[in-house]
Subunit: 91 residues, 2 copies
């Protein structure tokens, strides 16, 4: 799936919402940190939620564990009026 | 750029290192949170560094700000012997 194909839809009208997509892929060796993607998932969502007000039912998360590659896809629709948390200090 | 094309190279030999790739794309409306990708960049790197020991010169970060879409690409090579930080509590 090419992330950019998602955004290549030419839309002349100003979009009524914004979209944030995160794609994470972890290529493991035979013996490796197998659950790194699962560990990162919650914390990456938490980082995003610190900066943008998120509506839980507009968040789509897909995880896939292949033989050598684990992937995480997060697709968040951000309504236009979602407030951006101005000066959020990094934890 | 398709993230998965990156991983589709069939390699029979066990890979001598692991790779973590993060792709972030923010489709903005005409007026929107323009620097969301820049804000998320440092914190996502910090989340990853909490879980895996990272060698700074093996981290490749690319940011691109298009008219409607900003993207962040992070490509991290994780040496096999990199220690995984066992039970790291989310902050």
């Amino acid at each position: 799936m090419s992330l950019f194909s998602f955004f290549n839809k030419k839309s002349s009208a100003p979009t009524a919402r914004e979209r944030l997509q995160v794609l994470l892929a972890h290529e493991r060796s035979t013996v490796g940190h197998s659950d790194l993607v699962a560990k990162l998932r919650e914390e990456i969502l938490a980082v995003i939620a610190k900066h943008v007000q998120i509506d839980n039912d507009k968040v789509n998360v897909k995880m896939d564990r292949g033989e050598k590659v684990s992937t995480l896809e997060v697709d968040i629709e951000i309504p236009l009026n979602a407030d951006v948390k101005k000066d959020v200090k990094a934890a």
